[in-house]
């Protein structure tokens, strides 16, 4: 959504930065932008030029004697560069790796100079607040979370896109009124809020007000403002696995708990979500045991990682465990995925009454797991079935049952 601000109204950002810089006496400001947003970069560049010709940026701004140079720094899309010390390293031209704080950037930051780092959204709010007054801004929102917040609504929802809501709006309103509800008549299952290291909110908590404090009580966070809606066809173990995979591949690799810990967590999730017909006893034992290690591991990653990325990495797992423990248990003990997402855990059978014996499935099955003769009901050999779902796709008579 920061990109939308820059593409839509870059002057708001520039004005906000100029005011903020004036406030702290900074003479140089950087906008760190993903290199893959050329439109945003171009528009910001143009806007800075225009602002310069009007004397809003540059030397002696509006005859105040105050100078400000705004530099656009293109970044190479590393998730960890959202962490402020990594971001500083990246602007300095080094590898984006966080460093321990203190010293905080406000004391010693970019090129060892005191530095303040803010999101585009925050800075872009400044001009309006200055013009309209704090009362105006505080007029919306809740006691402790003021103003509005922009969310990127996506997933299984009728209206996707950016929405700006007052703090304190309920999740239900956002999803069912603004978002238009879940399409295709499916049921709501959860929403992932706060990006890959945020948490999920189940149906039982759907009346929650969206503000900083309430989110924390359910184990989620505002984070980047991502809001991914998931319907009943979503497997929560799979969701946790997906986010853990993302975090693992975006970890900078500097500290051990995050680098090695998230990798082991991901492997545990993979073990839970996969099934082998010839699993050895040791592997079964490992699967059971690893689940026991999972929460310990999560604690250590949270406790001992260097930066926010690592500290929040276990969130998706912890929050899905908190709200959807039963799904984990089904996966681990019953070897079932209720959302039918974890393919290897699915059992494919042929409903005899419906099967016409057309042989299509038997021909298409990549492992020759389907047996039967023409015009007679067919049969699937469990041992050979790899759960690829081909038969389900090709059967014209709805005679494949999956559970």
């Amino acid at each position: 959504m920061d990109r939308a601000v820059i593409e839509g109204d870059p002057y708001r950002l520039i004005e906000g930065m100029a005011i903020a810089a004036y406030g702290i006496g900074a003479s140089k400001a950087y906008v760190y932008l993903r290199a893959e947003y050329p439109l945003a970069i171009q528009r910001l560049k143009d806007a800075i030029e225009v602002a310069k010709t009007y004397g809003f940026v540059g030397n002696n701004i509006l005859d105040s004697g105050f100078n400000l140079e705004i530099v656009i720094k293109k970044g190479a899309v590393a998730f960890v560069c959202g962490e402020e010390t990594a971001l500083i390293k990246s602007i300095e031209g080094k590898r984006g790796m966080p460093k321990p704080r203190p010293p905080y950037p406000a004391v010693s930051g970019l090129f060892d100079k005191p530095t303040i780092i803010n999101n585009v959204e925050s800075l872009a709010n400044i001009p309006n607040i200055i013009r309209e007054g704090a009362g105006w801004f505080n007029g919306v929102g809740t006691e402790n979370s003021k103003g509005t917040k922009v969310f990127a609504l996506s997933g299984n929802i009728a209206n996707t896109g950016l929405v700006e809501v007052a703090m304190g709006t309920t999740l239900k309103e956002i999803i069912f009124e603004i978002g238009g509800g879940i399409p295709d008549g499916y049921k709501y299952k959860a929403v992932q809020i706060g990006g890959p290291s945020g948490g999920c909110i189940p149906e039982s908590e759907i009346d929650i007000q969206i503000d900083y404090e309430s989110l924390i009580t359910v184990g989620a966070m505002m984070g980047s403002g991502g809001l991914v809606v998931m319907d009943e066809n979503t497997c929560m173990v799979d969701v946790a696995k997906y986010f853990m995979g993302f975090i693992q591949s975006e970890s900078c690799g500097k500290c051990i708990p995050c680098r090695e810990g998230t990798r082991r967590m991901l492997e545990i999730l993979e073990r839970i979500a996969s099934g082998k017909s010839n699993e050895t006893e040791l592997e079964t034992l490992e699967r059971f045991q690893s689940v026991l290690h999972m929460t310990d591991l999560a604690t250590i990653i949270q406790d001992a990682s260097l930066c926010g990325l690592g500290k929040s990495a276990p969130n998706p797992v912890l929050s899905t465990l908190r709200w959807f423990r039963h799904e984990y248990e089904e996966h681990i003990y019953e070897r079932k995925c209720r959302a039918k997402v974890c393919k290897e855990l699915l059992t494919f059978t042929i409903i005899e009454d419906k099967c016409t014996g057309c042989t299509l499935c038997a021909i298409q099955c990549p492992t020759d797991a389907i047996l039967g003769s023409k015009k007679h009901p067919h049969y699937i050999n469990f041992e050979k079935c790899i759960g690829c779902g081909t038969c389900l796709e090709v059967c014209n008579f709805d005679s494949i049952n999956v559970e």
Binding site: R95, P100, G253
Partner: protein, 573 residues
Amino acid sequence: MKIIVINNEVEAKEGEFLLAALRRQGIKIPTLCNIDGLDPSGSCRMCVVEMEGRPDLVPSCAFPVYEGLKILTHSERVVTARKAIVELLLSNHPDDCLYCVRNGNCELQGLAQEHCVSERIFSGSKNSYKLDYSSPAIVRDPAKCVLCGKCVRVCEEIQNVACIDFAGRGSKAYIGTAFDEGLNVSSCVKCGQCILVCPTGALTERSHIDEVMAVLHEKKKHIVVQHAPSVSVTVGEEFGLKAGKDVNGIMTAALRKMGFDRVFETSFSADLTIMEEASELADRIQNGGKLPMFTSCSPGWVKYLEEFYPEMIDNLSSCKSPQQMLGAVIKSYYAEREDIDPKDIYSVSVMPCTAKKFEIDRDGMGRGDTSDVDAVLTTREFAKMIRMMGIDFNSLEPDGADTPFGIRSTAGKLFGASGGVMEAALRTAHYFLTGKELEIFEIKEIRGMKGIKEAKVMIGELEVGVAVVNGVGNAQKLLDEIQAGRDDIHFVEIMTCPGGCVAGGGQPIGADPEKIKARMRAIYKIDKEETLRTSHNNPDIKRLYDDYLGKPLGHKSHELLHTHYVERKDIMK
């Protein structure tokens, strides 16, 4: 200021990090990534402690103390986290201890032991890597790397080379070279300082043990060995002796026991180097040659200059290093004298240095296809061989070096400490330029661990400016000043390793600054206590010139004792 550690008040110093305060109290906090004297990186998380008012654990290496700070250093939460960190490292570590150079001397092993790791808690995939065997001096085994980043920091922040860095992300992160081309095509100067800080067996010298052993067992060749000035004051540490204990004679005895036919001291050829180098300096001063002149005995520094300051190659002395000079006279003068075909001589050196392994293969370090030196053992390899051959080091009777190179001056011995070459050279240069001996030999200003040391010395009417740099990373400042026109310096000694050879990349692992200072003191003590303190008065050196070489910088010298350098502007060279 007071801080509170496990309910006890403890004194801490304003501005220091928690780890330092705890260590002073004798509280042992494990670390993997800490390097004293450098900014903390906070990456290994082994040093975490529990702190009142903080939701997470904080790394003590990177946390500045403040009044009243309250911590727990070994609470259940802390110890559990530390143990888990070790277990996580082990889950991606080859189970190779029995085949590893660092077996018994490995920080990861030590931490696993300290934390009672007895069970494989985390299992899963391991990364697979290729061994980087490209360099003649350093071997990298990324599979054993725990990514503590110490090598990266030493290489960049101390040595100013920066040829290795983090690459990749997540569990696939690794320490790599530019374009993953391998260490030998990078700007690596082979100093081995990275090996000294590496907690594991991920970095080690390219071993010559096997080839030397094979030759010793075959007994087909005439096998000679030289040992460098600094090794006698460091190798004892490998056998439980105090840092700085001089075991020169015992080393010689051990080498004989191993089966070397002749044992020589590189300190002898350091005297020879001084004869040539002091003559070269005198010549440059008298005949308007390129000044300041730089020493050339430290091969890492030579590579550094070729790599980063190729435009200053003419400032380098053309003298070979003492190792190469002795190698050259062994396979010429000595071979003729003993009537042995140089091809039948196998010449080994025991060095404090990894770069020496690179130096022996440099262009010009031999004649025809006979190289001056055939194999280089580091102090560590030498100690290993002593153990392997069942030699009880501490019960040996001291022995002396062989003729015709049996006598050395203490000037030659001084090469082992930073500033030593300079002192030795000035003693002889003074004599060469004035015909008189220096009145006071010691030049205190150029002793010790300071990065750049300078002094002015009167040689007759001429005030000679000298500078001594130790740690090649300190060279940049001085070189830049010289390039910017500074002209009050005539002679510069530069040693690649901080402290000089006593702290070389081939020395025993785990030396702290105190040990390094003790090693230095030992060398100066030798100089103080003996009477032959100048290279030009060494009778064996005089004989070598009389019988064979003629005079310093003469025809024979040029053929045997001098060399040339190459520009390495391109990283791929």
